[in-house]
Subunit: 197 residues, 2 copies
Protein backbone atom coordinates (compact mmCIF):
# COMPACT_ATOMS: atom_id res chain seq x y z
CA UNK A 1 0.00 0.00 0.00
CA UNK A 2 1.84 3.12 -1.22
CA UNK A 3 1.44 6.60 0.14
CA UNK A 4 -0.05 7.64 -3.18
CA UNK A 5 -3.42 6.45 -1.98
CA UNK A 6 -4.53 4.73 -5.16
CA UNK A 7 -3.03 2.17 -7.53
CA UNK A 8 -4.45 2.21 -11.07
CA UNK A 9 -6.82 -0.67 -11.83
CA UNK A 10 -5.30 -3.47 -13.89
CA UNK A 11 -1.68 -2.42 -13.44
CA UNK A 12 0.87 -4.11 -11.20
CA UNK A 13 3.42 -2.13 -9.24
CA UNK A 14 7.12 -2.74 -10.08
CA UNK A 15 7.56 -4.39 -6.66
CA UNK A 16 4.78 -6.86 -7.49
CA UNK A 17 6.42 -7.63 -10.87
CA UNK A 18 9.82 -8.35 -9.30
CA UNK A 19 8.28 -10.42 -6.51
CA UNK A 20 6.23 -12.37 -9.02
CA UNK A 21 9.29 -13.05 -11.24
CA UNK A 22 11.37 -14.19 -8.25
CA UNK A 23 8.55 -16.44 -7.09
CA UNK A 24 8.08 -17.85 -10.59
CA UNK A 25 11.80 -18.65 -10.86
CA UNK A 26 11.80 -20.24 -7.41
CA UNK A 27 8.74 -22.30 -8.29
CA UNK A 28 10.22 -23.46 -11.60
CA UNK A 29 13.45 -24.55 -9.87
CA UNK A 30 11.43 -26.28 -7.13
CA UNK A 31 9.66 -28.22 -9.89
CA UNK A 32 12.82 -29.13 -11.81
CA UNK A 33 14.59 -30.41 -8.67
CA UNK A 34 12.02 -33.17 -7.89
CA UNK A 35 12.04 -34.10 -11.59
CA UNK A 36 15.79 -34.81 -11.42
CA UNK A 37 15.41 -36.59 -8.07
CA UNK A 38 12.50 -38.72 -9.32
CA UNK A 39 14.52 -39.81 -12.34
CA UNK A 40 17.42 -40.69 -10.01
CA UNK A 41 15.15 -42.69 -7.67
CA UNK A 42 13.58 -44.39 -10.69
CA UNK A 43 16.90 -45.37 -12.30
CA UNK A 44 18.41 -46.64 -9.02
CA UNK A 45 15.32 -48.75 -8.37
CA UNK A 46 15.11 -50.06 -11.95
CA UNK A 47 18.74 -51.22 -11.78
CA UNK A 48 18.18 -52.77 -8.36
CA UNK A 49 18.60 -56.54 -8.74
CA UNK A 50 21.01 -58.97 -7.20
CA UNK A 51 21.88 -62.58 -7.98
CA UNK A 52 23.99 -64.61 -5.59
CA UNK A 53 24.25 -68.08 -4.03
CA UNK A 54 20.93 -67.59 -2.26
CA UNK A 55 19.05 -66.90 -5.49
CA UNK A 56 18.13 -63.71 -7.30
CA UNK A 57 16.06 -60.72 -6.24
CA UNK A 58 14.82 -57.83 -8.31
CA UNK A 59 12.79 -54.71 -7.48
CA UNK A 60 9.91 -56.12 -9.53
CA UNK A 61 9.49 -58.97 -7.03
CA UNK A 62 8.09 -56.48 -4.52
CA UNK A 63 4.81 -54.63 -5.11
CA UNK A 64 5.91 -51.63 -3.07
CA UNK A 65 9.02 -51.06 -5.20
CA UNK A 66 7.02 -51.46 -8.42
CA UNK A 67 4.64 -48.78 -7.12
CA UNK A 68 7.63 -46.57 -6.26
CA UNK A 69 8.90 -46.90 -9.84
CA UNK A 70 5.51 -45.96 -11.29
CA UNK A 71 4.98 -43.09 -8.84
CA UNK A 72 8.47 -41.72 -9.56
CA UNK A 73 7.80 -41.91 -13.30
CA UNK A 74 4.49 -40.07 -13.02
CA UNK A 75 6.06 -37.54 -10.66
CA UNK A 76 9.01 -36.88 -13.02
CA UNK A 77 6.63 -36.36 -15.95
CA UNK A 78 4.32 -34.06 -14.01
CA UNK A 79 7.26 -32.10 -12.58
CA UNK A 80 8.67 -31.46 -16.05
CA UNK A 81 5.30 -30.48 -17.50
CA UNK A 82 4.40 -28.22 -14.59
CA UNK A 83 7.88 -26.61 -14.59
CA UNK A 84 7.35 -25.66 -18.25
CA UNK A 85 3.87 -24.28 -17.54
CA UNK A 86 5.07 -22.42 -14.42
CA UNK A 87 8.06 -20.91 -16.27
CA UNK A 88 5.91 -19.15 -18.87
CA UNK A 89 5.13 -15.61 -17.65
CA UNK A 90 1.39 -15.48 -18.11
CA UNK A 91 -1.59 -14.13 -16.20
CA UNK A 92 -2.54 -16.90 -13.81
CA UNK A 93 -6.17 -17.90 -14.23
CA UNK A 94 -8.42 -19.35 -11.57
CA UNK A 95 -8.76 -22.74 -13.28
CA UNK A 96 -5.00 -22.99 -13.73
CA UNK A 97 -4.44 -22.21 -10.03
CA UNK A 98 -7.01 -24.87 -9.06
CA UNK A 99 -5.39 -27.42 -11.41
CA UNK A 100 -1.93 -26.73 -9.95
CA UNK A 101 -3.29 -26.87 -6.40
CA UNK A 102 -5.16 -30.17 -6.82
CA UNK A 103 -2.45 -31.89 -8.85
CA UNK A 104 0.31 -30.77 -6.46
CA UNK A 105 -1.69 -32.09 -3.49
CA UNK A 106 -2.36 -35.39 -5.29
CA UNK A 107 1.28 -35.84 -6.29
CA UNK A 108 2.41 -35.05 -2.72
CA UNK A 109 0.13 -37.73 -1.32
CA UNK A 110 1.12 -40.20 -4.05
CA UNK A 111 4.87 -39.79 -3.61
CA UNK A 112 4.57 -39.76 0.19
CA UNK A 113 2.63 -43.04 0.08
CA UNK A 114 5.26 -44.54 -2.28
CA UNK A 115 8.05 -43.51 0.09
CA UNK A 116 6.17 -44.78 3.15
CA UNK A 117 5.32 -48.26 1.85
CA UNK A 118 8.81 -48.73 0.39
CA UNK A 119 10.32 -47.70 3.73
CA UNK A 120 8.18 -50.32 5.43
CA UNK A 121 9.36 -53.02 3.00
CA UNK A 122 13.01 -51.98 3.41
CA UNK A 123 12.52 -51.99 7.20
CA UNK A 124 10.99 -55.47 7.11
CA UNK A 125 13.73 -56.69 4.77
CA UNK A 126 16.40 -55.46 7.22
CA UNK A 127 14.73 -56.47 10.48
CA UNK A 128 12.42 -59.30 9.45
CA UNK A 129 9.51 -60.25 11.68
CA UNK A 130 9.91 -63.39 13.76
CA UNK A 131 6.28 -63.54 14.89
CA UNK A 132 5.00 -63.96 11.33
CA UNK A 133 8.14 -65.80 10.11
CA UNK A 134 9.24 -63.11 7.65
CA UNK A 135 12.98 -63.51 7.18
CA UNK A 136 15.69 -60.81 7.18
CA UNK A 137 16.19 -60.71 3.43
CA UNK A 138 18.92 -58.07 3.63
CA UNK A 139 21.25 -60.57 5.33
CA UNK A 140 21.56 -62.37 1.99
CA UNK A 141 20.92 -59.46 -0.40
CA UNK A 142 22.88 -56.59 1.07
CA UNK A 143 23.54 -54.74 -2.18
CA UNK A 144 19.87 -54.92 -3.15
CA UNK A 145 18.81 -53.39 0.18
CA UNK A 146 21.42 -50.62 -0.01
CA UNK A 147 20.20 -49.51 -3.44
CA UNK A 148 16.55 -49.72 -2.33
CA UNK A 149 17.36 -47.56 0.72
CA UNK A 150 19.06 -44.97 -1.52
CA UNK A 151 16.05 -44.85 -3.83
CA UNK A 152 13.63 -44.50 -0.91
CA UNK A 153 15.72 -41.72 0.68
CA UNK A 154 15.65 -39.76 -2.57
CA UNK A 155 11.88 -40.26 -2.69
CA UNK A 156 11.58 -38.59 0.72
CA UNK A 157 13.52 -35.54 -0.52
CA UNK A 158 11.04 -35.41 -3.42
CA UNK A 159 8.20 -35.52 -0.86
CA UNK A 160 9.70 -32.50 0.93
CA UNK A 161 9.93 -30.60 -2.38
CA UNK A 162 6.30 -31.42 -3.09
CA UNK A 163 5.20 -30.34 0.38
CA UNK A 164 6.81 -26.97 -0.45
CA UNK A 165 5.15 -26.87 -3.88
CA UNK A 166 1.77 -27.61 -2.26
CA UNK A 167 2.31 -24.63 0.01
CA UNK A 168 3.16 -22.37 -2.95
CA UNK A 169 0.23 -23.55 -5.07
CA UNK A 170 -2.27 -23.17 -2.21
CA UNK A 171 -0.93 -19.65 -1.59
CA UNK A 172 -1.33 -18.84 -5.28
CA UNK A 173 -4.86 -20.23 -5.36
CA UNK A 174 -6.35 -18.95 -2.14
CA UNK A 175 -4.76 -15.51 -2.18
CA UNK A 176 -6.70 -14.96 -5.42
CA UNK A 177 -9.96 -15.10 -3.51
CA UNK A 178 -9.22 -11.57 -2.30
CA UNK A 179 -7.84 -8.44 -3.95
CA UNK A 180 -4.04 -8.31 -3.73
CA UNK A 181 -3.47 -5.81 -0.95
CA UNK A 182 -0.15 -6.33 0.84
CA UNK A 183 -0.47 -8.05 4.20
CA UNK A 184 0.34 -5.75 7.08
CA UNK A 185 2.20 -7.62 9.84
CA UNK A 186 0.82 -5.18 12.44
CA UNK A 187 -2.73 -6.32 11.83
CA UNK A 188 -3.37 -9.85 13.06
CA UNK A 189 -7.11 -9.97 12.43
CA UNK A 190 -9.05 -10.16 9.21
CA UNK A 191 -8.51 -6.83 7.58
CA UNK A 192 -11.44 -5.03 6.01
CA UNK A 193 -10.07 -2.02 4.21
CA UNK A 194 -12.18 0.96 3.26
CA UNK A 195 -12.22 0.97 -0.52
CA UNK A 196 -14.18 2.28 -3.43
CA UNK A 197 -15.63 -0.06 -6.05
CA UNK B 1 -18.39 -5.68 -2.63
CA UNK B 2 -21.66 -3.85 -1.89
CA UNK B 3 -23.16 -1.12 -3.96
CA UNK B 4 -22.59 1.30 -1.08
CA UNK B 5 -19.05 1.79 -2.31
CA UNK B 6 -17.35 1.53 1.04
CA UNK B 7 -17.44 -0.96 3.91
CA UNK B 8 -16.44 0.46 7.31
CA UNK B 9 -13.00 -0.63 8.50
CA UNK B 10 -13.02 -3.42 11.09
CA UNK B 11 -16.68 -4.42 10.59
CA UNK B 12 -17.96 -7.56 8.84
CA UNK B 13 -21.06 -7.55 6.68
CA UNK B 14 -24.00 -9.81 7.77
CA UNK B 15 -23.33 -12.09 4.78
CA UNK B 16 -19.74 -12.57 5.97
CA UNK B 17 -20.96 -13.37 9.49
CA UNK B 18 -23.40 -16.07 8.28
CA UNK B 19 -20.84 -17.55 5.89
CA UNK B 20 -18.25 -17.57 8.64
CA UNK B 21 -20.61 -19.30 11.11
CA UNK B 22 -21.57 -21.97 8.56
CA UNK B 23 -17.93 -22.55 7.72
CA UNK B 24 -16.99 -22.73 11.40
CA UNK B 25 -19.71 -25.32 12.07
CA UNK B 26 -18.63 -27.35 9.04
CA UNK B 27 -15.01 -27.19 10.13
CA UNK B 28 -15.83 -28.24 13.70
CA UNK B 29 -17.84 -31.24 12.44
CA UNK B 30 -15.06 -32.13 10.00
CA UNK B 31 -12.69 -32.19 12.99
CA UNK B 32 -14.98 -34.23 15.25
CA UNK B 33 -15.58 -36.88 12.57
CA UNK B 34 -11.89 -37.94 12.22
CA UNK B 35 -11.63 -37.91 16.02
CA UNK B 36 -14.38 -40.54 16.26
CA UNK B 37 -12.91 -42.50 13.35
CA UNK B 38 -9.39 -42.39 14.82
CA UNK B 39 -10.69 -43.74 18.13
CA UNK B 40 -12.51 -46.52 16.23
CA UNK B 41 -9.38 -47.43 14.22
CA UNK B 42 -7.33 -47.32 17.43
CA UNK B 43 -9.69 -49.56 19.42
CA UNK B 44 -10.08 -52.10 16.60
CA UNK B 45 -6.30 -52.29 16.20
CA UNK B 46 -5.64 -52.50 19.95
CA UNK B 47 -8.05 -55.43 20.26
CA UNK B 48 -6.53 -57.14 17.22
CA UNK B 49 -4.89 -60.34 18.41
CA UNK B 50 -5.50 -63.97 17.58
CA UNK B 51 -4.32 -67.19 19.15
CA UNK B 52 -4.86 -70.51 17.38
CA UNK B 53 -3.09 -73.80 16.61
CA UNK B 54 -0.47 -71.98 14.55
CA UNK B 55 0.51 -69.74 17.45
CA UNK B 56 -0.53 -66.27 18.49
CA UNK B 57 -0.34 -62.94 16.69
CA UNK B 58 -0.98 -59.47 18.03
CA UNK B 59 -0.91 -56.01 16.42
CA UNK B 60 2.14 -55.18 18.54
CA UNK B 61 4.19 -57.79 16.66
CA UNK B 62 4.16 -55.55 13.61
CA UNK B 63 5.90 -52.17 13.59
CA UNK B 64 3.47 -50.74 11.03
CA UNK B 65 0.44 -51.47 13.20
CA UNK B 66 2.14 -50.04 16.29
CA UNK B 67 2.77 -46.85 14.29
CA UNK B 68 -0.88 -46.84 13.20
CA UNK B 69 -2.00 -47.01 16.83
CA UNK B 70 0.27 -44.13 17.82
CA UNK B 71 -0.68 -42.04 14.80
CA UNK B 72 -4.41 -42.64 15.44
CA UNK B 73 -3.96 -41.63 19.08
CA UNK B 74 -2.15 -38.41 18.21
CA UNK B 75 -4.70 -37.70 15.47
CA UNK B 76 -7.68 -38.24 17.82
CA UNK B 77 -6.13 -35.92 20.42
CA UNK B 78 -5.32 -33.21 17.90
CA UNK B 79 -8.77 -33.50 16.27
CA UNK B 80 -10.50 -32.99 19.62
CA UNK B 81 -8.27 -30.07 20.60
CA UNK B 82 -8.55 -28.37 17.22
CA UNK B 83 -12.35 -28.91 17.13
CA UNK B 84 -12.64 -27.06 20.45
CA UNK B 85 -10.41 -24.23 19.24
CA UNK B 86 -12.24 -24.05 15.89
CA UNK B 87 -15.66 -23.99 17.57
CA UNK B 88 -14.95 -20.86 19.60
CA UNK B 89 -16.14 -17.81 17.62
CA UNK B 90 -13.10 -15.60 17.78
CA UNK B 91 -11.22 -13.33 15.44
CA UNK B 92 -8.79 -15.57 13.63
CA UNK B 93 -5.22 -14.33 14.02
CA UNK B 94 -2.38 -14.84 11.59
CA UNK B 95 -0.37 -17.06 13.97
CA UNK B 96 -3.43 -19.21 14.69
CA UNK B 97 -4.10 -19.65 10.97
CA UNK B 98 -0.45 -20.64 10.41
CA UNK B 99 -0.59 -23.11 13.34
CA UNK B 100 -3.77 -24.72 11.99
CA UNK B 101 -2.34 -24.85 8.48
CA UNK B 102 0.99 -26.44 9.46
CA UNK B 103 -0.49 -28.89 11.98
CA UNK B 104 -3.26 -29.96 9.58
CA UNK B 105 -0.68 -30.59 6.85
CA UNK B 106 1.55 -32.52 9.25
CA UNK B 107 -1.34 -34.65 10.54
CA UNK B 108 -2.49 -35.37 6.97
CA UNK B 109 0.97 -36.63 6.02
CA UNK B 110 1.30 -38.60 9.28
CA UNK B 111 -2.04 -40.38 9.00
CA UNK B 112 -1.58 -41.00 5.26
CA UNK B 113 1.80 -42.61 5.95
CA UNK B 114 0.26 -44.74 8.73
CA UNK B 115 -2.50 -45.91 6.38
CA UNK B 116 -0.05 -46.59 3.54
CA UNK B 117 2.47 -48.68 5.49
CA UNK B 118 -0.30 -50.64 7.23
CA UNK B 119 -1.92 -51.33 3.85
CA UNK B 120 1.41 -52.67 2.61
CA UNK B 121 1.72 -54.98 5.63
CA UNK B 122 -1.88 -56.20 5.24
CA UNK B 123 -1.24 -56.73 1.53
CA UNK B 124 1.92 -58.74 2.25
CA UNK B 125 0.11 -60.71 4.96
CA UNK B 126 -2.62 -61.66 2.47
CA UNK B 127 -0.48 -62.27 -0.62
CA UNK B 128 2.91 -63.12 0.86
CA UNK B 129 6.02 -62.78 -1.31
CA UNK B 130 7.51 -66.01 -2.64
CA UNK B 131 10.70 -64.40 -3.95
CA UNK B 132 11.78 -63.32 -0.47
CA UNK B 133 10.08 -66.25 1.30
CA UNK B 134 7.54 -64.14 3.21
CA UNK B 135 4.58 -66.38 4.00
CA UNK B 136 0.86 -65.64 3.59
CA UNK B 137 0.14 -65.03 7.27
CA UNK B 138 -3.56 -64.40 6.68
CA UNK B 139 -4.05 -68.06 5.71
CA UNK B 140 -3.57 -68.96 9.36
CA UNK B 141 -4.74 -65.74 11.04
CA UNK B 142 -7.84 -64.78 9.11
CA UNK B 143 -9.59 -62.93 11.96
CA UNK B 144 -6.49 -60.90 12.69
CA UNK B 145 -6.19 -59.79 9.07
CA UNK B 146 -9.89 -58.88 8.82
CA UNK B 147 -9.69 -56.59 11.85
CA UNK B 148 -6.44 -55.04 10.58
CA UNK B 149 -8.10 -54.37 7.21
CA UNK B 150 -11.05 -52.68 8.95
CA UNK B 151 -8.74 -50.48 10.99
CA UNK B 152 -6.70 -49.51 7.91
CA UNK B 153 -9.86 -48.72 5.90
CA UNK B 154 -11.06 -46.37 8.66
CA UNK B 155 -7.62 -44.73 8.64
CA UNK B 156 -8.07 -43.93 4.95
CA UNK B 157 -11.41 -42.22 5.63
CA UNK B 158 -9.57 -40.16 8.28
CA UNK B 159 -6.99 -39.28 5.62
CA UNK B 160 -9.76 -38.00 3.34
CA UNK B 161 -11.17 -35.86 6.18
CA UNK B 162 -7.72 -34.43 6.82
CA UNK B 163 -7.18 -33.70 3.13
CA UNK B 164 -10.40 -31.63 3.34
CA UNK B 165 -9.27 -29.93 6.54
CA UNK B 166 -5.93 -29.06 4.91
CA UNK B 167 -7.87 -27.41 2.11
CA UNK B 168 -9.96 -25.38 4.57
CA UNK B 169 -7.01 -24.32 6.69
CA UNK B 170 -4.95 -23.29 3.67
CA UNK B 171 -7.92 -21.28 2.41
CA UNK B 172 -8.23 -19.61 5.82
CA UNK B 173 -4.53 -18.82 5.95
CA UNK B 174 -3.78 -17.65 2.45
CA UNK B 175 -6.95 -15.69 1.85
CA UNK B 176 -5.81 -13.50 4.76
CA UNK B 177 -2.85 -12.28 2.75
CA UNK B 178 -5.21 -10.02 0.86
CA UNK B 179 -8.11 -7.79 1.86
CA UNK B 180 -11.41 -9.74 1.84
CA UNK B 181 -12.94 -8.59 -1.42
CA UNK B 182 -15.32 -11.16 -2.93
CA UNK B 183 -13.88 -13.01 -5.90
CA UNK B 184 -15.55 -12.11 -9.16
CA UNK B 185 -15.95 -15.15 -11.44
CA UNK B 186 -15.87 -12.91 -14.51
CA UNK B 187 -12.35 -11.81 -13.81
CA UNK B 188 -9.85 -14.60 -14.23
CA UNK B 189 -6.70 -12.56 -13.79
CA UNK B 190 -5.16 -11.07 -10.67
CA UNK B 191 -7.38 -8.18 -9.75
CA UNK B 192 -5.87 -4.91 -8.63
CA UNK B 193 -8.67 -2.74 -7.26
CA UNK B 194 -8.43 0.99 -6.90
CA UNK B 195 -8.55 1.69 -3.21
CA UNK B 196 -7.74 4.37 -0.71
CA UNK B 197 -5.38 3.72 2.17
Amino acid sequence: MGKDGAIPTGASSPVDETGSTTMRTAETLLRILPMALCVAALVIMLKDSETNDYGSLSYSDLGAFRYLVHASGVCAGYSLLSAVVAAVPRRSTMSRAWAFFLLDQLLTYMILAAGAISTEVVYLAYKGDASITWSKTCGSFEGFCRKATASVSITFIVTLCYAGLSLISSYRLFSKYDAPVAYSPNNNGIEVTTFQA
